[in-house]
Symmetry: C2
Subunit: 284 residues, 2 copies
């Protein structure tokens, strides 16, 4: 299976390692945003570009009949990406796996499975401790901020604290900057602490975590309790999940199942190398 | 979707509750081991018989083109059940979901997903605290034992302690019975404690649990840590999982995907009621 990477940031680099470690894949090249997409010769392309550019690139590749995998992560826009790419994939008999990371992605599969195990109840997804890209970008955009890092701290029941570490621009007033951050829509709804530091770079760390909890009802039996925890290197996991989904895309295409698929639409076995017999014997 | 139940023990009863709670199902009858299988009019039959009778009943039903779901739980024989039922299902254009409980079953899906997230590493499935049916039956078979309950206690890294509560027959010698239990192949390899009690019935409790742990490598990044825990009512969860798998069996059959499938071969979305759009928007 020839797998190429489009975009070579943290996730592209991690995906490269995961492709090289896969027993059934070869790296078909690493491409950048402005390279010629028509020149990519691969069975699957991992679209590891910034999330807002995913749709454009995935559409061009799917129109060529190439499978794609992305980790598009704007939760409110996943369905519209799926609808738009699905049509292109169906017309060109290919498969695009979308939003393939850990959330959205593997967490989504866990949430779906837990709902099947206890259909009534509440699921809370608690993120962190780990860096929030969206909040970090929002803090960096505040006037007087030279560099920033926004950490997400889980407080349970889906409530999060924001710890915002900032490096001030010369002459900037901390109290003014702090007030601007606290008033920003990204931070105004959560408990937020702003902390001045000498160097944000010294704090950077790609560790992240999830604590996903469900208490629910199976049949008429209440108090069924489930919990999924992970502590991971964020880009390494995202890159690995994309690579595993590349395999699933090819499997579905080979079976004549075309379209854009989220991870809850993928059977776990299709993520793994090996035969059905080997995998059933090892995992079931 | 008309769903019938064959076998009306703990799991059959729990499945009945789950069918009644499902928005898209109606109960098509409850049947016993010696009822006329030809008389069952249903889209799916949940085979909730003792595990050793599953193959016989599922084969007859699949040969009639009816979908089946079972919770066959002898790990070493799952592949041969799948092979045998697969042929019947393919010939009769139907689907049998096999080994659909929590282990084998939902735990298997988690194990497969974790392997896709960190392909190299170790997964430990720690069971309990909860009653082990196999060990309880083995203890009951010892001479001098009137009634028994064998609890499985997780000690981590897949190692388990057996706590065996026994009610002695009149005149039986505790030390002799204890020695016989400790020498039995079911108990000889684990730390086992035998405890005499006045009434085993007073101890019975269908609570069970799992602690499933994986530490592995994503790409070239080590120390990726994952943990899945649950504390559940055992038959209630098994019955619910079977009912969710009944839905998946019908979905696959409607798409023209026939055969015998384990849960790792099922996409999580197929376990749930509702449209793809609703489920993607709610869970991804």
């Amino acid at each position: 299976m020839k797998v190429a990477i489009l975009g070579y940031g943290n996730i592209g680099r991690a995906a490269e390692e995961a492709i090289k470690a896969a027993p059934d894949m070869e790296l078909a090249g690493i491409f950048h945003h402005n390279d010629c997409l028509e020149c990519i010769d691969a069975d699957v392309v991992l679209v590891a570009t910034p999330t807002r550019e995913v749709q454009k690139f995935a559409t061009v590749l799917a129109a060529r009949g190439i499978c794609t995998v992305d980790s598009f992560d704007i939760h409110g826009q996943i369905w519209s990406l799926r609808e738009s790419l699905d049509a292109v994939c169906q017309s060109n008999k290919t498969v695009s796996v979308i939003s393939a990371g850990w959330d959205p992605g593997s967490d989504s599969m866990i949430r779906a499975l837990l709902m099947a195990m206890a259909p009534k109840g509440l699921t809370y997804t608690n993120f962190g401790p780990g860096r929030s890209m969206g909040h970090t970008v929002a803090a960096k955009a505040i006037k007087g901020v030279k560099n920033a890092l926004s950490m997400t701290i889980p407080l349970g029941t889906g409530i999060h604290r924001r710890m915002v570490y900032i490096e001030l621009e010369e002459g900037a007033d901390f109290k003014t900057v702090e007030a601007a951050i606290l008033a920003d829509d990204y931070f105004a709804h959560d408990e937020t602490h702003v902390i001045p530091v000498a160097s944000v770079d010294q704090l950077n760390n790609v560790a992240h975590g999830v604590n996903l909890v469900r208490s629910g009802v199976s049949g008429e039996t209440h108090n069924q309790r489930f919990e999924f925890n992970m502590e991971i290197n964020n880009p390494a996991l995202t890159g690995q999940v994309m690579v595993s989904c590349a395999r699933a895309a090819m499997r579905m295409k080979e079976r004549g199942v075309y379209g854009a698929k989220t991870m809850i639409e993928i059977a776990p076995i299709d993520l793994l190398p090996g035969t059905t017999e080997t995998l059933v014997k090892a995992l079931v």
